[in-house]
């Protein structure tokens, strides 16, 4: 067994053996020093390397992470790459010799013995860094097949989004990462927990921290069981504070550990620290003289840059329990509350209140907006990970060839944007039916006078006299009121209906409603996918699978709606500012050409409250400047590379959508190029030949909508907005993620 390069029993391992990784090496050292350690073995780094070599996965990883400089990858793109790598790890064959070695060793532990399968990467746990929680561990694994599958997933977790981002933060090269796997008998006594040699929240202190839960330690580690918590003066052996865990049950108020149990744990901390030479964080199970060390690592005290959002990203790892809590709060409380707030503010009349009340109103609306923006970051975005949770769940169960097949399960959700887009289709069909109405609307949409609400109303009276006109007007006004009272790029879309009118005319120029045809075409596919998931998990887990689906669908739907609802609240702040600006201008207390934007709130409110103050001077509204192209003279882009986010191949002229002022310029058949498709612009996607986005991700709006509509989409193109210009002819290859600039020189028809 000793000569086996793939597995090494813990009892036989050398303490400084780099082949077994940090976690296993520390346990081996403690075992050899006489500590109680659960028997087990380590699958060596060499086994991982052999797996990579035989499957040639290293090249796959290099392809995935080499698309662009790693530091330029957005978190969504890292997640996507991690999902694809995980899928390839799942599909790759394990080396036969490694399989034989692992199975042989598992049998020595007893084939029916529940095992813990944990990561043990070299350099994983040290005083400077800790990968705690970032690599996967599997508990209560029974049987050779299950152990092999767990080993494969532990290896794959070296390439999880969180692990990759953490390496990025530590400036470690992910491509040099390696992984050993520690496999031990599960030891579960009636008490388990963690013990810190010092308070991990502080750099230097004399206090130890002990936390305990009933049963296995996994409940404490994954946060599902609230532990009893002791802060103890380590030298004096005196309890400083005790906080009982909030758990249900008859003995919930009884401390889980007695004074002698605490003393044993403090002694254990002393002995481990003496043996390993650093202040430890020990995971343990048992009591008194029967304490088993499950894990020992140094307490890290990494100081994070407060401006660095990566630690925040790391908190976003999907967790079903957290998602369920978020779902309940977001779906049942927050979204209805935000919806009602938007309605209430939209219904408030601002014309009849005095200036001081208007100032209060503006400040109150701004405070509400700020509050909801915080909620957006703290709760809406984390809940959006329900979709990603489904992705992992579906892929682990179904093992699909396409790691994004699960996205098909999200189709058909009745989002606000879908309702708006359906209404737009209805309006387009009305226009198609009445040629006279269409001609008049074309005049209205393209006349420069249609750029203001007042002029639009003049056109509206003309339309009502035409066949289909009244019906159109009624539906159009409903559309404006229900869906366009939103802020986008600092403007209220409801203020300028002309771009929307142009969009409707463009939709009417299309013979078929692509959105409608896609919905009917994809419906059976969704049901089929759902059935595949249920078949794969088995009848015993149907309820669990349906719950994961429910969470994902709600997460996807609400994640879209929340943007529009938040934009509606912002629109109400802008409306109040507009009223204030108009009043101040009439009173000659604000320059007539001033633009009243959200960043002028304090000055506007002060002017409203203090009529005796000097007139306010704000910058004038400037026409939207044409963006400067950073293209160097003589440099012409030929091919841009991004992520193939929706399959298909199409050519067309580039139309940049940089903000609300560009929405009305979009023509059917053009290639939509933007930073990212926002919910306020999804109605343009059915008109587009293809979509190109700077922002990358397989699960962002543009990608999913394009997939639904069968339109090619390439996203994550870093300089798309700088290198492309309106009118450029491009070909978008949504299979390969390539945008070719120039007139297409090939047949577009695929065989």
């Amino acid at each position: 067994m000793d000569s086996d390069p793939w597995v090494i029993p813990l009892a036989a391992a050398s303490c400084d053996d780099q082949r077994i990784g940090g976690k296993a090496a520390q346990l081996a050292r403690l075992q050899q020093a006489g500590f109680r350690i659960a028997p087990g073995f380590c699958v060596t780094v060499a086994a991982y390397e052999q797996f990579l070599r035989e499957s040639q996965l290293q090249r796959v990883i290099q392809m995935e992470l080499g698309r662009k400089p790693f530091e330029e990858l957005r978190w969504e793109e890292v997640w996507d790459a991690a999902l694809r790598i995980r899928n390839r790890f799942s599909a790759a064959r394990l080396p036969l010799a490694v399989v034989q070695s692992i199975c042989r060793t598992v049998r020595t532990l007893g084939s029916g013995t529940p095992l813990a399968v944990r990561s043990s990467a070299p350099g994983e746990d040290s005083a400077q860094r800790s990968f705690a929680g970032l690599h996967e561990s599997f508990l209560f694994v029974v049987g050779e097949e299950a152990v092999l599958e767990s080993v494969r997933l532990v290896w794959a977790s070296l390439w999880s989004d969180a692990a990759l981002l953490y390496r990025q933060e530590l400036a470690l090269n992910p491509l040099r990462s390696r992984m050993a796997v520690l496999i031990q008998e599960m030891r579960t006594e009636d008490r388990s927990g963690v013990a810190f040699g010092r308070d991990p929240r502080k750099d230097q202190n004399e206090h130890a921290v002990i936390e305990a839960v009933p049963g296995p330690c996994s409940g404490l580690v994954d946060g599902s069981v609230d532990p009893d918590h002791w802060l103890i003066h380590r030298a004096a052996r005196q309890v400083v504070t005790f906080r009982p865990g909030r758990r249900e049950g008859p003995a919930q108020n009884e401390p889980l550990l007695q004074p002698q149990d605490l003393e044993s744990l403090l002694l254990l901390l002393d002995q481990v620290e003496s043996e390993l030479g650093w202040c430890p964080d020990v995971e343990w199970t048992g009591r008194g003289s029967c304490l088993t060390v499950l894990q020992a690592r140094p307490i890290t005290s990494v100081r994070h840059d407060p401006n660095d959002k990566r630690p925040w990203y790391l908190t976003l790892r999907p967790d079903k329990q957290r998602l369920q809590q978020l779902c309940q709060r977001v779906a049942e409380q927050l979204i209805p509350e935000l919806c009602a707030l938007g309605d209430r503010l939209a219904a408030e009349s601002l014309e009849d209140i005095d200036d001081a009340e208007l100032a209060d109103c503006i400040q109150s609306r701004q405070a509400l907006l700020e509050r909801w923006k915080r909620i957006y970051w703290d709760e809406f975005i984390p809940f959006a990970h329900g979709v990603r949770y489904l992705g992992m769940y579906f892929n682990d169960a179904v093992h699909p060839q396409d790691p994004y097949e699960f996205v098909g399960l999200l189709r058909g959700e009745d989002m606000l944007a879908s309702q708006r887009n359906r209404l737009l289709q209805v309006l387009a069909q009305q226009v198609q039916e009445f040629p006279e109405l269409q001609r008049t609307l074309q005049q209205a949409a393209h006349a420069s006078s249609a750029a203001s609400v007042f002029e639009w109303e003049a056109w509206a009276s003309q339309l009502s006299a035409l066949g289909g006109g009244c019906q159109f007007l009624e539906a159009f006004q409903t559309l404006l009121r229900q869906f366009m009272d939103v802020a986008f790029g600092g403007l209220r879309l409801i203020d300028n209906p002309a771009p929307l009118l142009r969009n409707i005319l463009e939709l009417a120029s299309q013979t078929n409603s692509s959105a409608a045809s896609v919905e009917s075409r994809e419906e059976p596919a969704t049901q089929e996918l759902e059935q595949r998931l249920l078949d794969a998990v088995g009848a015993a887990r149907h309820d669990e699978a349906r719950e994961v689906l429910r969470l994902a669908r709600l997460s996807w739907q609400l994640r879209d709606d929340d943007n529009l609802l938040l934009a509606r609240v912002e629109s109400q702040l802008l409306r109040a500012l507009q009223v204030a600006g108009a009043r101040l201008k009439v009173a000659e207390r604000l320059n007539p050409d001033a633009e009243v934007r959200a960043d002028a709130v304090p000055m506007i409110c002060a002017a409203l409250r203090n009529p005796a103050d000097a007139p306010l001077l704000l910058p004038a509204a400037l026409p939207h400047p044409a963006p400067l192209s950073p293209r160097a003279s003589g440099e012409t882009p030929r091919q841009l590379v991004g992520q193939p986010a929706a399959h298909g191949l199409a050519s067309g002229s580039v139309r940049m959508i940089r903000g609300p002022e560009d929405l009305g310029s979009f023509h059917a058949g053009e290639v939509l190029v933007c930073d990212a498709i926002q919910p306020m612009m999804t109605h343009l996607v059915p008109l587009a030949a293809a979509v190109v986005e700077r922002r990358g991700g397989m699960l962002i709006h543009g990608a999913i909508i394009a997939r639904e509509l069968g339109i090619p989409c390439v996203n994550g193109v870093p300089n798309a907005l700088d290198l492309l210009q309106d009118g450029d002819r491009v070909t978008v290859d949504g299979y390969l993620g390539i945008v070719t600039v120039g007139v297409a020189e090939f047949r577009l028809e695929l065989e």
């Binding site: 090249r59 290099q62 091919q639 191949l649 290859d733 299979y735 390969l736 390539i738 297409a744 020189e745």
Partner: protein, 171 residues
Amino acid sequence: MTDEPLLESAASRQPSLGDTNEDDALRNLVAHLVQEQPYAVLCTQGGGQPYGSLVALAVTEDLRSAVFATPITTRKYRLLCDCERVALVIDSRSRSSEDMMQIEAITATGRARQVSPGAEFEHETNLLIGRHPQLELFVRSPTTALFRVDIIRYLHVTRFQEVRQWTPIRG
């Protein structure tokens, strides 16, 4: 340099230099280099203008053919459609870039043709993916074209200017 001989005509094939042993030695040098180096510069032409592209390559064991893939939206695809005569340049700079006299290079000349879906496509695809497993999705994409190059001869260069020619024997 003479025109390329027609593939089908043994009579027009250019004779190899040297005797059989030398022939084997040269064949082994060519085989070693194509096995060692996964990439080649594909040389195409159009309207009198040469064009070079780096491609991931796989060469058959008998050295008679090579396979590579290209997106159909590229210039090289259009040039390949317009003119089948191509060259592939493979060199050992990655092995010994410091010493020019140690660098080996081969230029393989031949005819390229697009392989249509079917048994041959699967065979050639497997050859390419076997050499470059990370390219599986790329090779199987509907917007990727697979090309087989029937290699007519190899020109092997060592010590800066020493050039020998070897022609794979066709059955």
